[in-house]
């Protein structure tokens, strides 16, 4: 199975591709120290599940303020303040979707049969992904435009044959 380190690098590369191509925000790794997944205050969590040779789920956790900035940038707006929470959530779901698509593309030589779900997004406070047992966790903490913390978590395991 993919080493945790390799998976974390793959997640970061995929996230970079998405943020640089479509969101025009600078994304940097915030180091390897494990952090709290959920930001303070109002937050959103986008998740997408996958199955095939590898199964699990990718989540992205970020503050609502950060999600509004992302949505505004994707839509070419000056500010995300006027967007509804559903529009902001939709944008977060697409970020999860595109990041997972890019990860899938990057690991297709090892896992060529991954099927990806439609993304779901929840909003609230203290959001944490809840995987089942036996999952390996790859976590990538990043900083967006030098201010917003964004955490990508990938829980995965080899499918039972």
């Amino acid at each position: 199975m993919l080493e945790q380190m390799t998976m974390e690098q793959t997640i970061l590369d995929a996230a970079r591709e998405v943020f640089e191509t479509m969101i025009f925000m600078d994304i940097e790794s915030a180091g390897s120290e494990p952090q709290e997944t959920s930001p303070e205050g109002a937050a959103l969590m986008g998740s997408i599940t996958f199955r095939g040779g590898l199964e699990g789920c990718l989540t992205i956790c970020l503050s609502e303020a950060c999600a509004r900035s992302i949505a505004a940038n994707m839509l070419g707006m000056d500010s995300g303040d006027q967007l509804s929470l559903s529009e902001v959530g939709d944008a977060v779901g697409e970020v999860a979707n595109m990041t997972m698509g890019s990860i899938k593309h990057r690991i297709q030589n090892t896992y060529n049969d991954l099927q990806v779900s439609i993304p779901t997004v929840v909003s609230g406070r203290q959001l944490f992904p809840m995987p089942g047992e036996d999952f390996t966790r790859g976590q990538v903490c990043t900083t967006l435009d030098e201010i917003f913390p964004v955490t990508f978590s990938m829980y995965y395991k080899q499918a039972q044959s």
């Binding site: 479509m22 994707m74 070419g76 529009e87 899938k104 060529n112």
Partner: protein, 124 residues
């Protein structure tokens, strides 16, 4: 020559992003439509045909693969150019879509240049 476009994606935000990116690419359409899934897109095509469809793959109700197959069997969309826009990038899936009648493929994330490159051949 005037052209019409339909954007099919289950995410309303993504439909807006695609529209923005098409505009940035410099391509101009005098009529644009939107649909949230394949079934809705087929219904809209029956009432007014369009020249180009940009279509997502993973959608509830009816996905993009099924949409292409059914659109190719309807008189009103026989000649419509259908370009898939998706995060899916497996070569087998792309080959399968092209043999079902899709005219092109753009992967997400995308750039305005990519839309220009893929759509320009169908603008005349």
């Amino acid at each position: 020559m005037s052209k019409s476009l339909m954007i099919v994606d289950d995410s309303a935000t993504m439909r807006k992003i695609i529209m923005k990116t098409v505009r940035m690419s410099g391509l101009e359409f005098d009529r644009t439509e939107e649909a949230g899934n394949g079934a809705e897109a087929l219904e809209k095509l029956k009432s007014a045909a369009v020249d180009i469809v940009l279509c997502d793959i993973n959608m509830p109700e009816m996905n993009g693969v099924e949409f292409v197959k059914q659109a190719r069997q309807m008189d009103c969309s026989k000649n419509t150019k259908i370009i898939m826009v998706s995060t899916e990038s497996g070569q087998d899936l792309i080959d399968n879509l092209i043999s079902s009648g899709a005219n092109g493929y753009i992967t997400k994330p995308f750039t305005p240049e990519r839309f220009q490159e893929k759509l320009t051949p169908f603008m005349n």
